[in-house]
Symmetry: C2
Subunit: 222 residues, 2 copies
DNA sequence: ATAAATCTGTTGCAATTGCAACAAAAGGAG
DNA sequence: CTCCTTTTGTTGCAATTGCAACAGATTTAT
């Protein structure tokens, strides 16, 4: 997969792409597991696109809690939403999970039509818009999840969402249980305890990274 | 304020606006306090713009918890992020706070250039993009807030954000304390208790809807 | 192959939080 | 002004959650 294959350049001709690249002057870098891809505290206004590999957006607070704000995969875009209040971007990083390659660009070069008058710029804008909309949807789901008041509700909400997107009652967890706890913003051991309870009550059946929803009226319980 | 004055139509000529309105076939409706402006469960794919008044996006879960997902003010746009998984839009409503007037449109009519070939459609798209970006930022902040593990951290995070956007240590709360508790997704009485503690510890000074941050290193405590 | 690191699974205990219930204050409607 | 609704402020108690600390399993690195 090349950067050209990214959804951002969908329906844009190769020559227009190359022309636009000159306007954007993008930087391409590679990262290994656990390396810091981007420190928002130091790079406000930057936009990155994951070409290969995976990464996570995390916040490390001074009292030692690590929170996973987002999971990033091939083709995902990051950065455009942390460009408001510098203070709040502090402690937020993108960290490489599986070795990845990333393209960095400046926020404004996408927004403003290039002086070269690249013909496909409006299409680019539209694509970017779609990506933002998708991101907005993802964030809404996240808020939806985090607004649940108890660990049980968070787990069930998460499973319901995954079940929905995986189109099956049998869900394969896309991350480790430790990371899931960080994602749900709860204590890992407390989450394990709750998972066990849900198993005992025969509401779910979980083994390793596979969870099956047994109780059919989960949606109505949330 | 007319709909034409909305940010969505920034830099779009009045005649182009009128022409586009034919393509969008928008519906304009008025609402009184506590009336349901929109039920996402019944209207997927709809987009609304608040012309006057205020509203909130809430989710009523069957076990009686009410969660405020968003506050909507004049010029705000809602709906575009709840168009994924129908099941999850269930129980989510926009409810009128202060009497308001709303314009409803179809999501797709903005995305796709009208067949009439309205000249300003690309500008409209760009404006819509900005609104989405702003929304994305807002949701990120929300996730940022809700990912805090304790009530104390949530309060301090909220105050820090408000202080940042109000550019002052003396903050005027834009909602009632009851609504703030719903916004932070915590029990109201527990929040009151924590507010009292913060006052006792001289970290904040709160009286009615005015809160002053006394301790200067709040950011580092989160 | 072996060591090191990470992840899973458990538990007791303490702290935080939610719940229920109430009284007082404030705000709106007639 | 007076009633009625909403909001604020409090508290005891029970339930949930986080913390700390393990041991075993699994994965990754050398």
């Amino acid at each position: 997969m090349t950067f050209y294959d990214n959804f951002l350049f969908e329906e844009i001709k190769k020559e227009d792409f190359n022309k636009m690249m000159c306007c954007f002057s993008p930087k391409i870098e590679s990262f290994k597991r656990n390396e810091i891809v981007c420190d928002f505290g130091k790079n406000p206004g930057i936009i990155g696109i994951i070409r290969t590999g995976t990464a996570i957006t995390v916040r490390n607070s001074v009292n030692g809690n690590r929170t996973i704000l987002e999971s990033l995969e091939e083709g995902d875009i990051f950065g455009e939403a942390f460009t408001v209040c510098d203070k709040l971007s502090d402690g937020i990083y993108v960290v490489c999970e599986e070795d990845c390659q990333v393209m960095f660009m400046d926020y404004r070069s996408i927004l403003h039509p290039c002086s070269n008058g690249c013909i496909s710029h409006s299409r680019l804008l539209e694509n970017f818009f779609f990506m933002l909309a998708r991101r907005s949807v993802m964030l809404s789901r996240r808020v939806e999840l985090l607004s649940r008041r108890s660990i049980r509700e968070k787990i069930l909400c998460y499973l319901s969402m995954e079940s929905c997107s995986q189109k099956s009652r049998k869900i394969r967890l896309p991350m480790s249980l430790s990371n899931l706890a960080d994602y749900l913003c709860v204590d890992r051991s407390a989450m394990m305890r709750e998972l066990k309870k849900l198993n005992d009550e025969k509401i779910i059946l979980s083994e390793k990274k596979t969870v099956t929803i047994l109780n059919s009226n989960i949606e109505t319980e949330m």
